[in-house]
C-alpha cells in the first residue's frame, strides 16, 4: 500500500538503445563477476607458487594449499568436463553430471512443491488463528534447528519400512527444508496490509474469505516470491543431502560422494560436481525469478 510513491518508478529506457539492452548489461555484470572470481582463484594459486605456499613476508603457510592437488587450475576443471567420466567409458563427464543434475532436480522440484504448499497453508492457517500460531510456531522454528544430517537417515529408514520408493523420502527431506521460509514469509505477507487497508474491508462488511482473497493474498505475493527463491535453492540442498542415506545412485549426491573418494588423485572431478550442484540451484532460482517477473510488476517486487 504505497501511497507517496514518485510518479516515475519504471526504469527509464536510455534513448537510442534497444529494449533488451538492460538484460545484456545485467548478463555482462554477471560475466564480469565470474571473471573476477576466476582471477582470484588463479591469482591465489600464482601467489602460492611464487612464495612456495607461504603468506608473503612470513613463514606461515597459506590457509588453503594452493598446489594443483588442492586447487586445480580453472581450465583443468573445465577440461575434465569434456573427458570421459571413467577410463574407457563412453559418456563425457559433463553428460553424466547433467543427467545427475536433472535427476536431482526432479526430486528437488517435488520437495519444493510439497514444502511450499505446506508452508503456504501453514501461513494461511496462522494468520486466521493466533491461537494455532502461538501453539505451533515454536515447533515450526525448532524443526529447522535440528540438523538435516540427523533427520535425513531417519526419514529414509521410515520411508523404506513403509515401502515408499527412495525418491519419496528425498522429496520429504527436501520439503522439510522448503516449507519453513515459505511459512514464515507467507505469514508476514498476509499480515503486511496496513491497518487502514483492513479497516476499509471492514467498512464494506467483507467476509474473512473476501479479505483473504482480495487483500491478504495479493499483498502477500511479493513476500511469497521472496520465500520461493530461497526455497528453490534449499530444495536442491535438501535433495542432495537426502540422496546420500537413500543410496540413490542417479543423482548429484552420489556423484559428489564418489568423486570425493578420488579427491587425492583427481580433485578436479569433485570441483566439477560442486560446480554443477551450484549451477542447478542457481538455475532453479532463476526459473522462479522468471515466473515472478511474469506475475508481479516491477513496482511490487521486493528485492
Amino acid at each position: 500500500m504505497t501511497v507517496a510513491q514518485p510518479l516515475e518508478t519504471q526504469p527509464t529506457a536510455v534513448p537510442g538503445l534497444p529494449g533488451w539492452w538492460p538484460a545484456v548489461r545485467r548478463a555482462g555484470s554477471v560475466l564480469l563477476i565470474l571473471l573476477v572470481l576466476v582471477g582470484a582463484w588463479e591469482g591465489y594459486k600464482a601467489l602460492g607458487a611464487a612464495t612456495g605456499g607461504l603468506i608473503p613476508f612470513t613463514a606461515l603457510p597459506l590457509p588453503v594449499r594452493a598446489d594443483d592437488k588442492s586447487m586445480p587450475h580453472v581450465w583443468t576443471i573445465v577440461g575434465v568436463l569434456f573427458q570421459p567420466a571413467r577410463r574407457g567409458a563412453e559418456q563425457l563427464l559433463w553428460q553424466i553430471l547433467l543427467e545427475a543434475a536433472l535427476f536431482t532436480w526432479r526430486e528437488a522440484l517435488a520437495g519444493f512443491v510439497v514444502g511450499s504448499l505446506v508452508g503456504f497453508l501453514l501461513g494461511v492457517v496462522f494468520v486466521h488463528s493466533p491461537l494455532l500460531e502461538r501453539g505451533l510456531m515454536p515447533y515450526v522454528v525448532a524443526s529447522q534447528t535440528v540438523p538435516l544430517l540427523a533427520i535425513a537417515p531417519m526419514v529414509v529408514i521410515w520411508g523404506s519400512r513403509l515401502g515408499w520408493p527412495a525418491w519419496a523420502s528425498v522429496t520429504i527431506i527436501s520439503a522439510y527444508l522448503t516449507f519453513f521460509p515459505v511459512a514464515i514469509n507467507t505469514l508476514r505477507g498476509l499480515n503486511s496490509p496496513e491497518p487502514t487497508a483492513l479497516e476499509l474491508m471492514r467498512s464494506y462488511a467483507a467476509t474473512r474469505r473476501q479479505i483473504l482473497w482480495k487483500l491478504r493474498l495479493p499483498a502477500a505475493l511479493p513476500y511469497l516470491f521472496t520465500a520461493l527463491k530461497i526455497s528453490a535453492s534449499v530444495s536442491v540442498i535438501g535433495a542432495i543431502v537426502g540422496e546420500l542415506p537413500s543410496g540413490i545412485p542417479d543423482g548429484l549426491g552420489r556423484a559428489l560422494l564418489t568423486f570425493s573418494y578420488y579427491y587425492i588423485t583427481g580433485p578436479e572431478k569433485l570441483y566439477a560436481a560442486i560446480l554443477f550442484s551450484a549451477l542447478l540451484g542457481l538455475t532453479f532460482v532463476v526459473l522462479v525469478m522468471l515466473v515472478e517477473r511474469l506475475v508481479l510488476p516491477a513496482q511490487r517486487r521486493l528485492e
Binding site: V3, L7, L200, S203, Y204, A205, K214, Q299
Partner: protein
C-alpha cells in the same frame, strides 16, 4: 428537519482505550451529538482530541465503552453490515495490484455486483471525479491528489448515505486541496449525502460545512458547535464573503478558549 430520522446520533458516548492497562486513555468523554441527513459536519480540534475516534465509532471500526451510537436510527454495527457509510482516510489506501477502475470496483465486488454493472458504475464514478482516462492506470502512476479522488470515488461507488472523511486532504498541497474541496462540495450537493469531515484547518472547516463541531482534548469533549450559515452553493466568492472571516474568527476563538482552560501538554 424534525420529521427526518437523524443520520447519526451520539448519546452519552465515551471511549476508553486499554481500559485495564497502565496506558489507559480516555479518548472521548460524554459525547452528545445529532447529525441530520444532508448535513456537512466538520470536526475540528487539537491533535489527540478524539476526532478520528469519533469517526471510527460511527463506522463501527471500534465500539464505544459506554453510550450508544445510532446510524440512520440503527446501532452502528448494523449500519456497517448494511453498508450505510463510505470511508475516506488520510491516505488514499488504494490497493497497488489493482487498476484504478478495479480499486473503485472493490466495494462492489464485496457486495457481489455482476461485472458489467461494476464496470459501468466505476466508469460513472471516475467521471464524477474527472479521472476517466486513468481507469486502466495503477495507483503508483497517479499523484497524491489524484489518488485521493479515486478514494472518494470508491467510497461513493456503492451509494452509501453517509460519507466519513478523516483528514482526506491532509497530505496534499494547498492548490490541490482547494480544488478537491470544491469537488467534494459539488459531490455533496449533487448526491445529497451526509458528510462527516475531520480537518485541522479552520478555513477548510468553515468553507465546507453547514456546522463545525469544535472539540477539546484530554478527555475528548465537544466544546461547541458553530453554525455556518454562509450561502450555498459555496465557491471561490465564499472565501471573500465578510461572514466567512467572522466564522473563522468564531471557530478560532472557540478553540482558543479550550486552550486557555487546558494548558497544552
Amino acid at each position: 428537519m424534525s420529521t427526518a430520522q437523524p443520520a447519526v446520533t451520539f448519546r452519552s458516548v465515551s471511549k476508553v482505550f486499554n481500559e485495564r492497562a497502565r496506558d489507559r486513555v480516555k479518548a472521548l468523554d460524554d459525547i452528545n451529538l445529532e447529525i441530520q441527513p444532508g448535513e456537512f459536519i466538520s470536526l475540528i480540534g487539537p491533535s489527540g482530541c478524539g476526532k478520528s475516534t469519533l469517526l471510527r465509532l460511527v463506522g463501527d471500526l471500534i465500539a464505544p465503552s459506554a453510550g450508544t451510537v445510532l446510524v440512520n436510527g440503527k446501532p452502528a454495527p448494523q449500519a456497517r453490515l448494511n453498508r450505510e457509510y463510505g470511508m475516506v482516510f488520510q491516505q488514499a489506501t488504494l490497493y497497488d495490484w489493482r487498476t484504478i477502475s478495479h480499486n473503485v470496483q472493490l466495494p462492489l465486488e464485496v457486495l457481489g455486483w455482476p461485472a458489467a454493472k461494476r464496470e459501468a458504475r466505476a466508469r460513472e464514478m471516475l467521471r464524477l471525479v474527472q479521472l476517466e482516462e486513468f481507469a486502466r492506470h495503477y495507483p503508483w502512476q497517479l499523484s497524491g491528489g489524484m489518488q485521493q479522488r479515486v478514494a472518494i470515488a470508491r467510497a461513493l461507488a456503492f451509494e452509501p448515505s453517509i460519507l466519513l472523511m478523516d483528514e482526506p486532504f491532509g497530505a496534499l498541497d494547498e492548490m490541490t486541496r482547494e480544488r478537491l474541496q470544491l469537488e467534494v462540495l459539488r459531490l455533496w450537493s449533487q448526491t445529497g449525502k451526509t458528510v462527516i469531515f475531520v480537518t485541522h484547518s479552520i478555513p477548510e472547516a468553515v468553507f465546507l460545512s453547514t456546522r463545525v463541531v469544535v472539540m477539546s482534548a484530554r478527555p475528548g469533549r465537544i466544546s461547541g458547535v458553530v453554525e455556518i450559515d454562509l450561502p450555498q452553493p459555496r465557491g471561490f466568492e465564499t472565501r471573500e464573503h465578510p461572514r466567512f472571516f467572522e466564522k473563522i474568527t468564531e471557530v478560532r476563538e472557540r478553540l482558543r478558549q479550550d486552550e486557555v482552560r487546558t494548558p497544552s501538554a
